[in-house]
Subunit: 417 residues, 2 copies
């Protein structure tokens, strides 16, 4: 099956807005084993819309068109498609009634302009829109099915679920591509690739997608089949195999984040955490408190940028700073231990480093960070050297800090291994 | 002038990656008063590349094509364009030498596959690439100029500067569209629109673009003209007028952020800041320490999620919490004042609120946040009720906190006015 996508909207051709609806369509297509062959953005221009539709009809099996279904004069998708396919447009009074009823349900009177949204292309089925005023339309011309949906993501997604998914299921057979996602902390992309290489033959290299960002790898495993139970079994077996190959750097599945996983582990143990941060400036605290319900296990943090606060707020010894400097194993340890006792928590992360661009010396370059984790069974230390600018150094440092805590909680070896 | 854009790369048709190079091209076009008429993404597929080029040639004045210029077998832009335009491809040995020299400069031997990158389309000018191995190409066919550039953003941007800008300048005349950006804190988009309405006639409504995100409005003002000095004068006059109309909610220009502006004000005054945060969980500290050089004016923070830490760490009275609850004006004030004295700073922000989804009561709904700013001239308070989920509430709260500090530093009225 060949599928194409067309987004209509002059605002999507400017310098300030990325087009994202095609990703939503792609994701549905992927589930049914279909790849998007082409995507196009045109302005609110009837000629350009019609031209693109003409190019696709007869050549692709599916064209999803988003946007241009609003009530105003520059919403021209209905007209463009009608022209390209040589079909007429007729106002459907039952659709006008539906739109009017929707306005009425909010206690509003339908503006006259909204009647335009009930102009239906000859031969098209109307897709009702419980989430907004713009109905969708679906028609087949010369073997090509056209699906017209609104550009508002929530409304578009609803119609993709309601109409596109069943259509795809019918056309592509009962086979569905299901995806499960594994999250990996603090390993390089090339490391993950090397580790999972032994599974390529059994799982199929084309079924594995690796997405990398600093300090985190997302691994997608796709399985295709008609039987939901069989798919689940294969997905479970595949994920177990990948976990085994990658090892303890695998921290979760799906939407899991390092901070949500750390939170779950603490909750299960009835333990609490706090942070004593310098170069990350509260970023680890921000991530932990971003988890809903974190007040059950996160107590507080001391951000000590200033030397005086490292001493007064966290109990670091002046003598230590004078002897080895604030960016050192010793100060990280004293920060973590001081923070643990002053915050009254079971676990405390101490972080001190050089985020840049200033503050570096020949011995202590930008990106050097010392971590200490103080816990019920003692204090551990880790030194790291991160590449990149201030934003990246801080991001990677917060990631490794959380990963170090997770490893301590699970007692499973060194982070990044 | 009519301009189109084509991105080549199968990875851009999947569900995980947005296409952004078109925005970079759009921004250059805008400078020269040209709007992008159409943008297309196709996979690494010679037929689809050729088809799109054929559709554009003779119909548009300019087609920028990004991607598909690498050395591997799936880099097919050169072949697709040659086929579509009926031109031959020939290997240019001088270009091979350039690519080889680039590898040599890194102490590497050029792999044989990279010779393909020196295949030049008949009649094309080679665009040299000091930032990578893929040279660009530029040719004119049937009134349409084709510019082939690499997909790597840094390399693409370099070539747009080196080649596209001069080409546009020549074609569009000496007129250049220049843009200046004004940033506005904690006003609604509709408020900003209303305030600047009196300037529409004088500045031209089409010259003003408003971009909104929670707690921040970015206002672009575009001026077109041949004379750089005249443009600068009009931009300066326009921005002054907009500042006057919008008032003190205008916090900066260009890349300014609220935190960078607060930092500059503190630096100029030789004053320091710290934060005492509950519901924002360190987000204000993270934003302040994200500014390079912040150690000159940011000292530290106490994040006190736990009641006990609000008391022990910040000196909030237990009796106050028992009497009015932790989310209250009184506790916000005690946090700010306690933080100011314990952190030893000139200014301290106290924030306590309900970020959700849990923790709400009928009297204290999700989104309720109390702010207090303790400073050399006393403590001020502000109550706010933000819409949205946990992420949005925290984002908006951090924004208002910084805006409240900025207003206190400047002594210019209430935030959000």
């Amino acid at each position: 099956m060949k599928a194409a996508f067309l987004a209509v909207g002059s605002e999507l051709l400017g310098a300030d807005r990325v087009e994202t609806n095609s990703l939503r369509v792609s994701e549905r297509l992927r589930r049914h084993g279909v790849a998007l062959g082409r995507k196009v953005v045109v302005g609110d221009d009837e000629d350009e819309i019609a031209r693109e539709v003409r190019d696709i009809v007869g050549r692709f099996d599916l064209l999803v068109i988003s946007g241009g279904l609003g009530p105003t004069a520059d919403d021209l998708t209905r007209e463009g498609v009608a022209r390209a396919t040589g079909r007429s447009l007729a106002r459907a009074e039952n659709v006008v009634d539906e739109i009017r009823a929707r306005f009425a349900s909010f206690g509003r009177t339908m503006p006259e302009v909204n009647r335009r949204q009930a102009d239906v292309i000859e031969g098209a089925t109307v897709i009702s829109n419980p989430r907004g005023s713009a109905p969708g339309q679906m028609l087949t011309v010369d073997q090509t099915t056209l699906v017209l949906v609104p550009g508002v993501p929530r409304e578009l997604e609803g119609m993709l679920d309601d109409v596109l998914e069943p259509w795809l299921a019918e056309r592509t057979g009962a086979d569905v591509l299901e995806t499960r996602v594994l999250k990996v902390a603090c390993l390089a992309e090339s490391d993950v690739e090397e580790r999972i290489a032994p599974a390529w033959a059994e799982l199929g290299r084309e079924n594995l997608t690796i997405l990398a960002k600093p300090g985190e790898i997302t691994l997608q495993y796709h399985v295709r089949g008609a039987d939901a139970e069989a798919r689940d079994r294969r997905l479970a077996a595949g994920l177990a195999r990948l976990r085994e190959l990658i090892g303890p750097a695998t921290f979760g599945e799906g939407e899991a984040t390092l901070e949500s996983v750390v939170g779950e582990l603490l909750l299960a143990r009835g333990q609490t955490i706090g942070t004593a941060e310098s170069c990350t400036g509260g970023l680890v605290a921000t991530r932990l408190t971003g988890v809903a319900g974190s007040s059950a296990w996160y107590m507080g943090s001391i951000v000590a940028y200033d030397y005086g606060l490292k001493v007064g707020g966290l109990g670091v010894e002046w003598a230590t700073i004078e002897r080895v400097g604030a960016v050192s194993e010793e100060v990280a340890r004293e920060m973590a231990e001081g923070g643990r006792s002053r915050l009254g928590v079971d676990w405390c992360v101490g972080i001190t480093g050089i985020a840049g661009p200033g503050g570096a010396t020949p011995e202590k370059p930008v990106g050097l960070v010392h971590f200490a984790i103080a816990g019920p069974n003692g204090t551990s230390h880790r030194r790291a050297q991160f590449p990149g600018d201030r934003v990246r150094v801080r991001q990677q440092a917060s990631q490794l800090a959380l990963e170090l805590v997770r490893r301590r909680l699970l007692r499973v070896g060194e982070a990044g291994t």
